[in-house]
């Protein structure tokens, strides 16, 4: 079970992770894009952490909706609408709930991914954040279905996300700014997949 209080801690830890990896994400982006991913993600989640101080509700849906709207209005670029939409879709599943059980978490994750697919018009295997998120979702779902604790399930998801990020190195980008590079994007890991991996890792780290 994830309570509202724990959920806020998860989101704040994502912020800490983004701050720690600001440079890494920016450097990954510089290789194939425009060198702003780390800056924007850090800025967005710093704003989320600040905004969450004002949310007095235990409603997980409310917390996630605040997160979504803050990301949409501070991140910009492609990551703002994509992550914003993901959190917004998850918030709809969590609406009115003061605790998130395993089944709800799987559903939230699923809806979040659907949101990204819809907004970004992308699929797995196109060198995007989905290449980390979809394997993570599948690992999480499988683990929970096997009866694992949430913390273990998120650890397995982190591992799957990390593998997904590695795989992005071998893909020619066809989505996002890296797509303009075509073959030159080979050899570079995707910054969006990397920030997604960091997010999953932050969740896993918080649940331990």
């Amino acid at each position: 079970m994830i309570t509202g209080e724990l959920l806020v801690r998860v989101l704040k830890n994502i912020g800490i992770k983004m701050n720690e990896n600001k440079q890494l994400l920016t450097e990954l982006d510089a290789a194939i894009g425009d060198a702003d991913h780390g800056i924007n993600m850090n800025k967005g989640f710093a704003a989320v952490s600040k905004k969450l101080e004002e949310v007095k509700s235990d409603d997980c849906g409310e917390i996630l909706k605040t997160t979504a709207m803050t990301l949409i209005s501070t991140v910009g670029g492609a990551s703002g609408p994509l992550y914003g939409t993901a959190f917004l879709k998850a918030s709809i599943v969590a609406k009115g709930k003061i605790e998130l059980d395993k089944k709800t978490i799987i559903k939230m994750f699923e809806e979040a991914i659907k949101g990204i697919v819809m907004r970004g018009k992308a699929q797995i295997g196109e060198k995007t954040m989905l290449d980390a998120l979809i394997p993570a979702y599948e690992a999480l779902k499988e683990s929970i279905e096997q009866g694992d604790e949430l913390s273990i399930a998120f650890n397995k998801a982190t591992y799957a996300a990390c593998e997904g990020v590695e795989k992005t190195k071998n893909i020619i980008a066809t989505k996002g700014r890296a797509s303009y590079l075509g073959e030159r994007s080979i050899g570079h890991q995707d910054p969006g997949a990397t920030s997604s991996y960091l997010m999953i890792k932050a969740i896993a780290d918080t649940l331990i």
Binding site: G33, I39, A78
Partner: protein, 330 residues
Amino acid sequence: MKKIINNPENVVNEMLEGIVKAYPEYVKRVEGFDVLVRANLKEKVTLVSGGGSGHEPSHGGFVGEGMLDGAIAGEVFTSPTPDQVFEAIKAVDQGKGVLLVIKNYTGDVMNFEMAMELADAEGIKVESVVVNDDVAVENSTYTTGRRGIAGTIFVHKIAGAAAEKGLKLDEVKRIAEKVIKNVRSMGMALTPCTIPAVGKPGFELPEDEMEIGLGIHGEPGTHRDKIKNAREIVTHLMDKILADIQINENEEVVVLVNGLGGTPLMELYIANNEVDKILKEKGIKTYKTIVGNYMTSIEMAGFSISILKLDDELKELLDEKADTPAFKQI
């Protein structure tokens, strides 16, 4: 990093303040937002454009009579957020509809689309066009298509003139799309640029090399090469541009030789001289030539060439009056 700034976090805000103080007769700021709107809005279809900052004078510099009515400045090289775009739409809407001019970058397209959804929900009539003039990028294999770069200026100018003449939204959109269909661009760079918040150059380029076909955000180009002279560089870019669009002998074009921010006008004029020679050799007529910094990439040294094929309609609108801080035509 050597830059005349205060705090990297405040560059966009302070730049906008500076623009408003320089051109109060042209633009005013929407309070609390990174949005500039025309000081004297007219009852007509309105045009909104924008994108990341760092491309000055794009986009705020083109707000004024005959061009844009609103411009949104995102963070440096980052597309603006939907709420900012939505504010711009609301601020300029005169009830006759708003046309959004978007450059084809995933982030821009998504954020502008979300803003359109917000505007639709409020009952504001909004349409959009996506500029994709950069021939450096193949558009057959890659579904996101090509980038939008300096050719966007022609969309602002010509669609802006159409709106100023009182044409309806669907007509203004049709004309904007016609410009997009007929404009091709390609650029190159000699040096990288530094995003203030990053503090170091986006990429490294050896002293004797140049990057061909790169985008306006310092994102890597199609390839690198040993630096060549102006004639060879221009020939390469023009070959790519003219291979992509059919322009027959005696047809007319307008040429834009656009500096990326760090290249002296002297070099842009030299490049333009080569462009002109190539067009003459092919029997293509240059109706008008524009040389200068219009769509820059902070202090990147380099330039792009844009060629717009004209017909009578586009020519007439091109000739209409424009009075903006960065583009004036009597």
